[in-house]
């Protein structure tokens, strides 16, 4: 049983002025030089604090402005105007939207949950995870009060093979030795980055953060280097199935992961016979075959299956309508339940997990835990410009990152995600994240609500 789990955030201000949402335009030529200038009266002192960063060509006012329009509306000559900062809109891509990046930066800086007033501002629903809502409890059963540790809500999961049941002897002791389990206090594993892994500081930041939060991090043979030695118990080598069992990167690790291949069970057998106390996971691409593959692997005794989608959360399938990770995952989970073997295997999912809410949603859809990648990079101030993919310079100079600082940013992000996971679980009234797994009864799906409500009223199929 872990001690009451706690992640401690420490503010870590950005190294570079972040790209802001606002764009203020100031026609100083017309200024009357009033004695009580609206700029001086800015509630947030953005004019006082504004600074121009020649290196990034960004004015900090765009980041600091809170869009209250007070200066705009009160300047006697109307010399101030504002609109959206185009640089902001250009960040990221269709999945990793500017708001996601902004939201992640805030959390990485402060470790706090993003909070705002005046209601929800977004679209009614959306694709992917935005097409589901989580449930809450009221009156018929209580919510649980986990925030700030007021009431203990466990976010720990066991990774490994689970028993259907245990055979006890007459004295009440278990008849056989239990299979090994790796317990992590937060259902998150750090995945290899799809890009942006420039220099050792990013890797070191991740490894140090993994250690601070008591978590795990995948490492590939390409990124493994002796500097990771102090972090072995955090590492999950993601290796080719035929790797030499004596390779240095396998020493002292609690878990390894193999890429799926048709003869994989034999390779698992080889690794387990070398070290039976090490959990072996298989990385399987999410596609329409994933459910039968996962079922077969589970029957074959595999302990963990890691189902991965692409970094936008789409399954790997030819054609133009891939399922989103939530749907593909539910399919696998439901299949395993129908096959009566779901509880025996641990499912890790990755791909498209971008915001804190995606974590519980993925778990509701059937994952025991999730692996995340890009949010970690964004925590390190990445703007998802992908310049590094083509070998161009990084606008936030990730190669020069101080690993201690980087680790703190990631820890802050995880702290915020942890708090948000607890918020959602608390609202559901569930005190153990393992009980959220597959709990689709406590989620609402857009298609269902739409069909049951407007479908019932307006009839027919929606257009």
């Amino acid at each position: 049983m872990p001690k009451k789990y706690h992640i401690k955030p420490t503010p870590a201000a950005p190294r570079f002025i972040p790209v802001g949402r606002s764009g203020i335009i100031d026609w100083e030529e017309d200024c009357l030089k009033c004695t009580t200038c609206v700029k001086k009266r800015c509630l947030y002192d953005v004019y006082k604090n504004r600074a121009y960063d020649a290196r990034t060509l960004v004015d900090s006012i765009d980041y600091q402005c809170k869009n209250c329009f007070s200066c705009i509306q009160n300047c006697p000559r109307g010399v101030l105007s504002k609109t959206i900062n185009p640089e902001f809109l250009r960040m990221g891509d269709a999945y990793w939207k500017p708001d996601i990046i902004h939201n992640t930066w805030f959390q990485a800086e402060t470790g706090r949950i993003p909070v705002s007033g005046a209601g929800y501002r977004g679209p009614f629903s959306g694709p992917g995870f935005d097409a589901m809502w989580t449930d809450m409890s009221e009156i018929v059963r209580p919510t649980r009060d986990g925030i700030h540790g007021r009431e203990y809500i466990s976010t720990a999961i066991d990774i490994g093979r689970k028993q259907h049941h245990i055979e006890f002897d007459a004295s009440g002791a278990a008849r056989i030795e239990m299979p090994p389990l790796v317990e992590i206090p937060l259902p998150v594993i750090f995945n290899p980055l799809p890009f942006g892994n420039i220099g050792i500081s990013v890797t070191l930041s991740m490894a140090a953060a993994a250690r601070q939060i008591g978590g795990l991090m995948y490492v590939t043979p390409e990124t493994y280097a002796p500097f990771l030695k102090p972090f072995m118990s955090q590492l999950v080598p993601l290796i080719p199935a035929d790797m030499d069992v004596n390779a240095p990167m396998l020493q002292g690790v609690r878990m390894v992961e193999l890429h799926y291949a048709p003869d994989i069970l034999a390779q698992v057998q080889r690794l387990k016979s070398h070290c039976s106390e090490r959990v072996v996971s298989i990385r399987v691409p999410l596609n329409p075959d994933a459910k039968t593959i996962t079922a077969a692997l589970t029957r074959g005794g595999v302990e963990v299956v890691h189902l991965f989608a692409d970094y936008r959360g789409n399954e790997f399938v030819d054609g133009d309508s891939p399922r989103f990770v939530k749907d593909a995952l539910r399919d696998v989970h439901t299949h395993l339940v129908n096959e009566c073997i779901r509880d025996e295997v641990t499912l890790i999912v990755s791909g498209g997990i971008a915001l804190a809410e995606h974590l519980p949603k993925a778990i509701i859809c059937g994952a025991d835990g999730a692996a995340i990648d890009l949010p970690l990079l964004i925590a390190l101030e990445c703007r998802v410009c992908k310049r590094c993919v083509t070998g161009k310079s990084c606008p936030v100079e990730l190669q020069n990152l101080d690993p201690a600082y980087g680790a703190q940013r990631i820890v802050n992000l995880m702290c915020s995600w942890w708090s948000q996971l607890i918020e959602l679980m608390g609202a559901m009234g569930i005190r153990d994240v393992r009980r959220v797994r597959g709990e689709a009864g406590r989620a609402m799906f857009f298609e269902d609500l739409e069909r049951d409500t407007f479908g019932a009223i307006f009839g027919g199929q929606s257009k």
Binding site: Q73, T83, V115, G117, F458
Partner: protein, 488 residues
């Protein structure tokens, strides 16, 4: 203040409008544009021309048609007009810039905007924004506007509690002492009283300055039980249990230590500077039989009070509603997940519980099937922005609605959403900073809210006439008066 519409201009020098009108240096102050423009955009300030009131500008298209296009008529080519780029930075999916501006306009004038602006729906891509009113194919017989009844009854149980009829199908959502300025609270309460409806204390206690409005106040009993005393419960005609709120369904909240000023602390009977917490649930209510006991408790303190149960919208919201009815509630108030005025975690606002558009018909249908729909008042909130949202909510099955954010917008909230960063609300609404709170007078605030309600009522009356209904009560559950853009 009397109950009538009065023009109540913005407190700010420049109102943001859809169009931007610029007067160039070429202007010779001939004032020809003052004559040309029928909308009052141009005016003379002393010897010179004033900065154009461009929020009144209806745009080139309309003016060109009517031959009142100042740009063309200016002898010195000093004027130019274009869409205001600022509005890109204003608003969001739910409250678009046009919706904000049209609401400001209604609060200022009590009328619909003359400018071609959307005042009915936002741009969220679902729910109310995809619903439209559907009128009968044959024109209904003419009903005089005066014959149309917009009042609703709040006690349908026919028990010993008060009978209360409110003149509009809406009352106000709770905003706590300490979260908004005194003037904001009084302004809203006053507008509620003038319209013969109700304001709400929120959960932060019952400040003395609201005592004059007792007959038109709802007092809230929330999970923190702050400021809740027998005396406050006995003071009012309606007591509202806040089980959850749409902005953060299932979550509690806390008031940071440095926000607990001397006054806030006194009201909540706490100590200045120590953080205050509301638990997630009512810890005295873990089940539906506890809930009944809880309602009985209010009735034990104030037997004549109407009990409203404010709940959020979980998957089993229908069960929650029927449970509340059987527990003895007079009003079931559903607060959908997209509303709320208070600070709340973004993750909660976006993800927890269902939007109100789904909850209303679900609950309405269930109450009808149970045969108790006419014994309970169903109130909806959480994303009611416009008069049309009210009509749609009622057609989906509610009796009336609760308004929160729209009233804030009437007070010139821009929904910048940083209600309490730094010193507080930059618009002087949601703040306890004395200097910021001074930005607004009660007279001004009450009139703005009054005007908005007046405009809403006119729209409701107009739409009911088109629907051929004499009373808003006829519209309840009439989903046949709606169409959905996604369905044939």
């Amino acid at each position: 203040m009397t109950a009538e519409i009065k023009k109540t201009a913005s407190r700010f020098r420049h109102t943001i409008g859809k169009y931007r009108v610029v007067r160039g240096r070429q202007c010779k102050s001939c004032a020809g544009c003052v004559v040309t423009c029928p909308h009052g955009v141009h005016f003379k300030a002393g010897a010179r021309m004033g900065t154009p009131r461009d929020y009144l500008c209806v745009g080139p298209d309309i003016c060109k048609q009517h031959g009142t296009y100042c740009v063309e008529k200016c002898p010195n080519a000093a004027l130019s007009v274009a869409i205001n780029p600022q509005i890109k930075a204003l608003g969001d999916f739910r409250w678009t810039a046009e919706l904000l501006m049209s609401t400001w306009y209604q609060a200022e004038t009590g009328e619909l905007p003359t400018v071609d602006m959307e005042y009915r729906v936002g741009n969220s891509g679902g729910g109310f924004d995809k619903l439209r009113l559907k009128y009968p194919e044959t024109l209904p017989s003419e009903i005089a506007a005066d014959d149309i009844d917009t009042s609703i009854e709040l006690n349908k149980r026919e028990d010993n509690a008060h009978r209360i009829t409110i003149s509009l199908p809406l009352y106000q959502g709770g905003m706590s002492f300490g979260s908004v300025s005194d003037n904001t609270m009084i302004s809203r309460a006053k507008a509620a009283m003038l319209w013969n409806t109700f304001g709400c204390t929120g959960e932060g206690g019952y400040p003395e300055f609201l005592y004059p409005f007792d007959r038109h106040m709802i007092t809230q009993v929330a999970t923190g039980l702050f400021g809740v005393k027998e005396e406050t419960v006995q003071r009012v005609r309606i007591v509202e249990f806040k089980y959850a709120q749409g902005a953060k369904p299932g979550l509690g909240g806390h008031l940071l230590g440095d926000k607990v000023t001397e006054r806030v602390a006194k009201m909540r009977e706490a100590v200045r500077g120590s953080a205050l917490f509301s638990p997630f649930p009512f810890h005295s209510v873990y089940s539906v039989e506890d809930h009944k006991k809880h309602v009985d408790w209010i009735k034990a303190m104030n037997p004549k009070a109407l009990v409203s149960v404010k709940v959020s919208t979980p998957a089993d919201v229908d069960m929650v509603a029927i449970g509340s009815y059987y527990a003895g509630a007079h009003i079931v108030h559903l607060d959908g997940s997209y509303g709320g005025t208070g600070a709340a975690p973004d993750i909660a606002k976006k993800n927890i519980a269902m939007p109100i558009e789904y909850a209303i018909p679900k609950v309405h249908r269930f109450l009808v099937e149970e045969g108790v729909r006419d014994r309970v008042t169903l109130i909806a909130s959480g994303g009611i922005r416009t008069a049309h949202d009210i009509l749609k909510a009622i057609a989906l099955g509610a009796d009336g609605v609760v308004e929160g954010t729209a009233g804030m917008v009437a007070l010139e909230c821009t929904r910048c959403s940083s209600c309490e960063s730094g010193r507080g609300c930059p618009r002087g609404i949601a703040t306890t900073d004395p200097e910021l709170a001074e930005m607004m007078t009660v007279e001004w605030g009450a009139q703005r809210v009054y005007n908005l309600y007046a405009s809403w009522r006119k729209q409701i009356v107009a739409e009911l006439r088109k629907l051929g209904m004499r009373s808003i009560r006829e519209l309840v559950g009439r989903t046949d008066c709606l169409r959905h853009l996604d369905y044939n």
